[in-house]
């Protein structure tokens, strides 16, 4: 039988606050075990959680950017279960009254736009980490590091609106881009700052009744999401074809084999017995607060793309590359504000700047060449002080030394030669050296013109103004 896949996604984004959601401990990644803990995040008896206001700000930001309505009143609830990485025996989360509801994102797959519903976004704390560390003498025991416990998360729950792995990827990429643009999550999948669980089920094509779903966990790259969903589609189709029933269960994705496997013995785990957390009072968000957050929102990727395309007239390719991250877009725009030729700036940012940074393994925010310096360089080309070719050499030098372009041009004597007398001398020299080629050219072999230009440029060490060279060379050869 032919089946239609139905996919819903739950994304956990770790927020980039300085401190945890309910205490003042640091959220820094990679610190030594249990060094960032206190009675609250260790779950010591009597310790009381107090909500980090920035988490609420960030949740409102995420809600507004995903077209959600912001709940005027939301509360925290305890989700009860036992696991060694959860010191209190419950996770503080939100249940029936989350902060954001009923949003959506529009995705595009193969040129078709589709709206994916967002059921809810809620605030919660992360658990600690179970580590199978190589500590001598501990035998079969496991180790627990609670640095991550109580780190703020936003869980974004989609409607089961996606009908192919590609739609799931498009939705995830869009959400990933938005949280990074908003500056609320660093989006690092490997470090677990952006984690995805996928609910996957099959139904016969044409049916409107969803099948039983499996929840896939432990997927930490966009590529793995696709793999995990595709594997799950095959697995479930096989079961259904054989007349079997898909069991509702949690399955772990194994990146080594590209398969999913059942997490046994968790049948009762979904009985979380939620109830309102009496330690945390309700969160009331009024319109003034929402307006204040709305005003602080940056331009979102879709709006930026539309503007780059319509107002700046950039080709689609440039628009996609430049808006891939907010930081790159800002670098481009800052340069553009000082040198208002969009396509020229775009070429440089996508070309030399990106190439140099990639070679160096650096992010755009770490670029040794600032937008102001890049604009200075482009002005030198525009004024004719240096040629476009020399500009690349100057750029490399700027990147290496951090010096200003004028300084480098002066130091290395790279000023473009536009003086006709000087260029004429070089041309005469080249033509005298190549009598055979000159004769061939004059007998009609026009293609040799490029050869002469190259020779002249080479003899001038790239400093001759190419326009002047062209003009003079043409005259001389015809003469």
């Amino acid at each position: 039988m032919k089946y239609q896949v139905v996919i819903g996604l739950e994304v956990h984004t770790q927020l980039t606050t300085n401190t945890k959601i309910f205490c003042g401990c640091s959220t820094r990644f990679g610190s030594s075990p249990n060094s960032q803990t206190c009675p609250v995040c260790l779950g010591f008896p009597g310790a009381l959680p107090v909500l980090n206001q920035k988490v609420v700000d960030y949740a409102i930001r995420a809600g507004l950017a995903t077209n959600c309505s912001i709940a005027p009143r939301s509360i925290f609830a305890r989700k009860n279960y036992f696991y060694p990485d959860l010191p209190k025996g419950y996770q503080i989360s939100q249940f029936d009254l989350p902060i954001c509801l009923n949003g959506h994102l529009d995705i595009e797959v193969d040129g078709v736009t589709k709206r994916i519903g967002i059921t809810r976004i809620h605030m919660e704390e992360d658990a600690g980490k179970l580590v199978h560390a190589d500590v001598p003498g501990i035998g079969d025991d496991s180790c627990v590091d609670l640095n991550r416990a109580c780190t703020p998360l936003l869980e974004v729950v989609s409607e089961p609106d996606m009908r192919s792995p590609d739609e799931a990827i498009a939705y995830l990429k869009k959400l990933h881009e938005i949280v990074r643009y908003l500056g609320i999550c660093d989006g690092n999948l490997e470090e677990g700052s952006f984690r995805c669980d996928a609910n996957v089920s099959l139904m016969p094509v044409g049916s409107t009744v969803f099948g039983t779903r499996a929840e896939l966990k432990n997927i930490n790259s966009f590529r793995f999401i696709k793999q995990a969903i595709e594997y799950e589609m095959e697995r479930q189709a096989e079961i259904l074809d054989e007349g079997g029933k898909v069991v509702q269960e949690t399955r772990l994705f194994d990146p080594n084999t590209g398969t999913t496997r059942s997490m046994r013995g968790k049948e009762e785990a979904h009985d979380y017995r939620y109830f309102p957390d009496p330690d945390l009072v309700p969160v009331i968000v009024d319109q003034a607060w929402i307006d204040q957050v709305r005003e602080s929102l940056p331009e979102l990727p879709d709006a930026k793309r539309a503007r780059f395309s319509a107002d700046l007239g950039l080709p689609e390719y440039d628009v996609e590359v430049l808006t891939a991250s907010r930081e790159l877009a800002e670098y481009f725009e800052e340069t553009l504000s000082l040198f208002p030729q969009a396509k020229v700036v775009s070429n440089w940012v996508m070309g030399e700047v990106t190439r140099a940074l990639n070679d160096d393994g650096k992010e755009i925010t770490e670029s040794p060449v600032s937008p102001a310096q890049l604009a200075e360089l482009l002005k030198l080309v525009e004024k004719g002080t240096i040629s476009g070719k020399i500009a690349k050499t100057v750029f490399d030098e700027m990147y290496k030394t951090g010096k200003k372009p004028e300084e480098i041009v002066a130091e290395k004597g790279l000023v473009q030669v536009s003086d006709t007398g000087a260029i004429e001398a070089i041309i005469d020299e080249v033509l005298a050296r190549e009598p055979g080629q000159v004769a061939e050219y004059r007998s009609g072999k026009d293609k040799l013109f490029g050869f002469f230009v190259g020779q002249v440029m080479k003899a001038s060490k790239g400093k001759a103004n190419p326009g002047v060279v062209n003009d003079l060379l043409l005259k001389k050869l015809q003469g």
Binding site: T19, C25, S32, P33, N34, V135, S142, C143
Partner: protein, 95 residues
Amino acid sequence: MKITRAEVEHVARLARLELSESELDTFTVQMDGILAYVDKLNTLNTDGIVPTSHAVPMENAFREDTLKDSIGVENAVANAPKHAESFFRVPKVIE
């Protein structure tokens, strides 16, 4: 009956409580009595009343996103039954 013996058993298992057969009987009767008592609330008309989530009339208790000193690894693991170097040490969980 407000609660069955099987439900009591289930709740006990979720709370990692091991109950003897006689305890199960006793607690089923007791919990049933408690639930029947609380059930009296259902005789009240609560139309239009927002469910009470908290007993104190407070809202929006926040803290600033400012770092505070943590208590240090030694203090963190001091009361743990077992620890290994700076980790808490727990029996292996089988998945």
